[in-house]
Amino acid sequence: MFEFCADPSALPDWQWFVCYLTSGTHLAFYRSFVVVVLLLLVVAPVALGMGLLGAMALRSHFAPVTLLGRGYVNLVRGVPDIVFFLFVPIALGQGIEWVLHQINCPDWDQPIRQGNDFIVCREAKMPPVGASAWARDVYAFGMAVVAFALVFGAFAANTLFGAMQAVPRAQTETAEAYGMTRAQAFRRIVMPQMWVYALPGLSNIWQILIKATPLLFLLGIQDVVYWARELGGAKTSLYTYPHPDWRVWYFLVLLAFYLFLTWTSERGFGWLTIRLSRGQATAEGERQRRKGLA
């Protein structure tokens, strides 16, 4: 990156470190932090959307939909943690290939599962044969997003359902007395008010989501854990930047990164609670009203 980095073995300490920390692999390491944040930013709205759908399904008056919602929420919550993260991407991947296989190669006569192999025709491979490395990364990342969104959507559905129930019953009754339909009452009365009740639960789910992101490593994505292991391991003098085992320092950086993330989001949710309580019929809202803030 810098011109004086041409021969690192002859550099004084500080320049050596400047060169070391700006080497190509380190830049990839820094980018992987962006991947973590990107995953959080993509998963959060998708999971919230799934949660909203799930909660509405749970509230529905149409029995099959209620049953579907309940099945989804309880299935995900009943199956232990990472089993789901590892199961969904591989099962979904095989499912997609199976469907493509049925569509593209109807005259294929051999079974798909032969012993321990899962064989589909060439046109059904996902990502397609000859896809760029970049496309493969995006596909793997997309699978991870689906797995995370499924799991956290179920958590969110449960929280949002509770929050919808927590909106005082009298409010919806009043809306109905004004002649609003169920959908209108939901949109105009329940939706705007439920967030303050949902917030503690959502904040909890968000913290759990943050702490679940290192599991990306298990899905074979080159994330922060992957790079910390790669870069930290002892390097012999064959490498441009030989150093002893520094993994402990790299993982310390990761710990600091995650502590920073959880700490800032705690502060953020604290602020949001105060903001959303404005004008609400809760103790906090009442306190703000008395102080003349609202």
Binding site: V83, A91, L218, D245, V248, L255
Partner: protein
């Protein structure tokens, strides 16, 4: 092909090491359903070992940390707060990596602790094994989570109970043992049950991170993952391990439910809090 009985004798204790069954794990086309059933079941030995010891040690440490956190002395409550923040604010998965890479750096020959006349040499090499080092990380982690629960319970002990203790002239350790501690446990118990369940589920992370599985002896999920890698079929091993964990969870709920009954035996029937399973998994 092995018969089911052969799989049973070959693999039911295999998780303890290669001296306790077949030397090698089944591979490739040689894998039968019974192999998966029994080898994954044998992995549960380690899940129970990790969860059991972590809960027992963590329980007492967490009581101490919660008391320190609740104390008004800043020399006690600041470090306790920092400890809780550190372990609750970062992923357990990264904690495993961090501590493993720190334990590896400890000197091979052990650490000498001079004790006046004699010098005690502490052998640090067990710390790099999952059975000791991994357990230590789990203990610290569950201590932090449980301490936060206990701290919350300490803060909501009914004032009347404390006043009654004062009226009886109780103070110091007697007051703690008879009034504060039972009340704290009673209030924290439902959430503590959930903590025990999450901890049991997170024992699946031990061998997925840095700690090596020597002689391929790992816990249940390690074997499930092994089978999925070998057979490329996630539809048997993963649901199976999930089912085993549901059984384990039910056992924990049963055990902790008994303790809950005892903690609340002085209350009228309808006032007793019921245990509710509220999974939230990943830590």
């Amino acid at each position: 092909m092995r018969s089911c009985a052969e799989s049973f004798t070959g693999y039911i204790l295999r998780a303890l090491g290669r001296d306790y069954g077949e030397r090698l794990l089944p591979r490739g086309l040689d894998i039968t359903l019974c192999d998966q059933l029994f080898l994954i079941a044998s992995g549960l030995i380690w899940n129970i070992y990790f969860a059991g010891f972590a809960i027992v040690f963590g329980f007492f440490l967490a009581t101490a940390v919660a008391l320190a956190r609740f104390s008004e002395n800043p020399w006690l409550n600041r470090p306790a707060g920092a400890f809780i923040f550190f372990f609750r604010g970062s992923p357990l998965f990264i904690q495993f990596f961090f501590f493993y890479s720190a334990f590896v750096l400890l000197p091979r020959g052990g650490i000498d602790i001079p004790l006046g006349v004699v010098t005690l040499t502490v052998d640090t090499s067990p710390l790099t094994t999952a059975q000791v080092g991994g357990l230590l990380v789990l203990i610290l982690n569950t201590t932090a989570y449980s301490a936060e629960l206990f701290y919350g319970a300490l803060r909501s002990i009914p004032r009347g109970d404390l006043e009654a203790a004062d009226a009886y002239g109780m103070a110091g350790f007697t007051r703690f043992r008879r009034i504060i501690w039972p009340n704290m446990l009673r209030l924290a118990w439902p959430s503590y049950t959930n903590e025990a369940i999450f901890l049991t589920h997170s024992t699946t992370l031990v061998f997925l991170s840095a700690f090596p599985a020597r002689q391929q002896s790992g816990e249940a999920f390690y074997y499930a993952r092994y089978f999925v890698d070998q057979t490329f079929n996630p539809f048997f091993a993963y649901p199976l391990v999930a089912a085993y964990f549901i059984l384990l969870t039910l056992a924990i709920i049963g055990l902790f439910g008994l303790a809950n009954r005892r903690l609340n035996r002085h209350l009228p029937q309808e006032a007793r809090p019921r245990l509710r399973f509220r999974p939230q998994y990943i830590r």
